[in-house]
């Protein structure tokens, strides 16, 4: 009786999505874990092979439903490289705007879910409330709250509406004092430290070995942030710090994410100032026919296709809210990508579950897995 396998999931409050954590417990102590994924596998990589380059963007929003714009950015960067198209600068700034707002929204969502995992009900509502303001902003220029379909190969769909930057600054002004409030509700409470300190420890060398990236890696003190190390879009022109902690535990991940939100606010203020000063086009003027802006693709593969476009391979790496996301797009000259391969950060983070769960107690699973920030959509794809 004292040793048993416990199925946590696929329907379980801890999982934040559809997956199954099989836990081998001895009393309340975890002896082994075995994550089972695939409950949300939609074959996005396969579907992408059957869609036009722009149509894949609709799948990207659904790959990670809390960080849709970051994934759009990832895919668009790769496919632009594969198709040899350069977006205008304003479009790049708009993409950074999207990605940083999405980072805050995703981290707020994480905060809400994480504090509920340790039994704090109140900040859950605060996190969701404040995230809603960002979704409102997204809706005002992309037209949707979660499934944006905003970015296009060669730019973005449309410019931000007049008065947007002021509203965005208003939201940022509202958010900054809220971060202090979040800290008071969690770090200010002794129970939080009792629950989260020295929990789920994964040191830097283990992170590297296991392929763990993102806030989990930075909480272990390793300074790796693709926005700094391999700047894409216009990140090399923006001024920000990489959030770091050295405790490698749940509290460290919390601190890193909170600091990242503050840094995102800092980036966003610069981006908004830039957008105010530099009007311009948001879409490349020279596009292949099947990407032409309002005139969406005509015909299906092999039918109306003119296969004389240069081939290419696109590779992009984006520091997604959850970590390092990669995309590899093979363009064989058709109007569909030949092969799209994504690397999801959460995929690797969950794969390492055995290394940060074993030895702790059953009651520690929710905070630890909460601190990983799981988005099953992008794991299963």
């Amino acid at each position: 009786m004292s040793e048993m396998w416990l199925n946590m999931g696929p329907q379980h409050p801890m999982t934040h999505g559809l997956w199954n954590l099989r836990v081998h417990i001895d009393g309340e102590v975890i002896r082994d874990v075995d994550p089972e994924m695939g409950y949300l596998h939609r074959g996005i990589e396969k579907l992408s092979e059957d869609r036009h380059y722009n149509e894949v963007v609709t799948l990207m929003d659904r790959t990670c439903y809390v960080a849709g714009l970051a994934w759009e950015h990832l895919y668009i960067l790769a496919s632009e490289e594969a198709l040899h198209i350069a977006p205008p600068e304003r479009a790049q700034y708009l993409r950074v705007l999207c990605e940083e707002f999405q980072r805050i929204a995703s981290h707020l969502m994480w905060y809400a879910a994480f504090v509920q995992d340790i039994g704090l009900m109140t900040p859950f509502l605060y996190g969701m409330r404040d995230r809603d303001l960002i979704l409102d902003l997204f809706q005002s220029y992309t037209g949707a709250r979660m499934t944006y379909e905003y970015m296009r190969v060669g730019g973005v769909r449309n410019d931000v509406p007049p008065g947007f930057t002021d509203r965005a600054r208003q939201v940022l002004d509202w958010l900054e004092p809220r971060f202090v409030e979040y800290d008071q509700l969690t770090l200010g409470s002794d129970i939080f430290h009792k629950r989260c300190d020295n929990l789920g420890v994964l040191r830097a060398n283990d992170c590297v070995t296991q392929g763990v990236t993102g806030p989990m890696l930075r909480s272990a003190g390793l300074k790796r942030d693709l926005r700094k190390d391999r700047p894409y879009a216009v990140y090399d022109q923006l001024d920000f710090e990489v959030a770091l902690a050295d405790t490698a535990d749940v509290t460290g991940r919390y601190l890193v994410r909170l600091e990242e939100m503050r840094q995102s606010v800092r980036i966003l203020r610069q981006v908004l100032d830039w957008l105010d000063r530099h009007p311009g086009p948001v879409m490349a003027s020279q596009l292949p026919r099947w990407l032409g802006a309002p005139y969406a693709p005509v015909g299906r593969e092999g039918y109306l296709l003119k296969r004389n476009y240069p081939k290419g391979v696109g590779f992009s790496a984006v520091e997604e809210p959850h970590g390092e996301a990669l995309a590899y797009v093979v363009n064989e000259g058709g109007e569909h990508p030949y092969r799209v391969k994504f690397r999801s950060p959460v995929y690797a983070n969950i794969a390492a579950a055995r290394h940060y769960l074993v030895g702790y107690r059953v009651a520690d699973i929710p905070p630890i897995m909460g601190s990983v920030d799981i988005c099953v959509g992008e794991v299963d794809r």
Partner: protein, 263 residues
């Protein structure tokens, strides 16, 4: 299950410190929020209060101190489509551009029997509200509105016929104002003259009537050579009227029309 107090030999014991449970600060923060939301919590009481109602937005912003709906521009929202049947030219671009293949072109009254008028019918059970169709619509007759309530009890009711989409159009809801610019290097319809038989199919089916069939001189047959059996006309496309729908290419029986850059 063993009593947890007896499992102290296990690893990772986090409660080494003997501090008192100090809880005053989170309780103070919660109390502050309690005082703030005592009279007007941030909740939007949805069926009675709607963010798309501008009067409500102004009221609530003052009331709670939180910038509710500060980013809202509901005109941009991508909700249920509105279709203006009168201006629809049956070009098929919406159906072509749909990633989910949820748009069917169905016949609506109003066309002549030989050349029926077809308008989009949208299956909202499949639609992902990406807006590609309204971006593709060259006439601006298929737009997206701010309507978002789609709940029904029957699956068949998720399919919106052109007439139902037209009803949405007639409600005069705010419509998505975003119109995308055409790229500079747009392709044109080009002709491979030796293949053409002058059958008039392209000109007949062109939704914008931008193709005219012009006479070409019938060449003199050289001795021993048999002239192809064809009508001696060739299509000429008016690029400024053309919406690049590709209908002509798909109806051409000889596949002599193709996309290309006009020199």
């Amino acid at each position: 299950m063993t009593d947890s107090t007896t499992t102290d030999e296990t690893t990772n014991d986090t409660t080494t410190g003997g501090s008192v449970l100090w809880v005053a600060r989170p309780m103070a923060t919660a109390a502050r929020q309690f005082a703030k939301s005592l009279f007007r919590p941030s909740t939007i009481v949805y069926p009675y209060e709607r963010l798309e109602d501008p009067k409500f937005r102004e009221k609530v912003e003052v009331a709670s101190g939180k910038p509710i709906g500060v980013g809202q521009i509901w005109d941009n929202y991508r909700g249920v489509h509105a279709l203006n049947i009168a201006t629809c030219i049956s070009c098929n671009l919406c159906a072509f551009s749909c990633p989910d293949i949820c748009i069917d072109m169905v016949t609506v009254p109003g066309g002549d029997p030989k050349h029926p008028k077809k308008c989009p019918q949208i299956d909202y059970g499949k639609c992902s509200f990406c807006g590609f169709c309204s971006d593709a619509c060259p006439e601006g007759c298929l737009t997206m509105t701010t309507r978002y309530g789609l709940t029904t009890s029957k699956r068949a009711e998720m399919v919106y016929s052109p007439q139902r989409l037209y009803d949405v159009y007639r409600t005069k809801l705010p419509m998505n104002p975003i119109r995308l610019a055409r790229p500079e290097n747009e392709d044109s319809i080009l002709l491979d003259p030796p293949l053409c038989i002058g059958c008039n199919a392209c000109a007949r089916d062109c939704p914008t009537q931008c193709i005219t069939m012009l006479d070409v001189p019938k060449p003199e047959a050289k001795p021993g050579e048999k002239l192809p059996k064809r009508i001696w006309k060739e299509p000429v496309v008016n690029d400024s009227d053309c919406v690049r729908c590709g209908t002509c290419i798909s109806v051409c029986p000889k596949e002599c029309l193709f996309w290309g850059t006009r020199k």
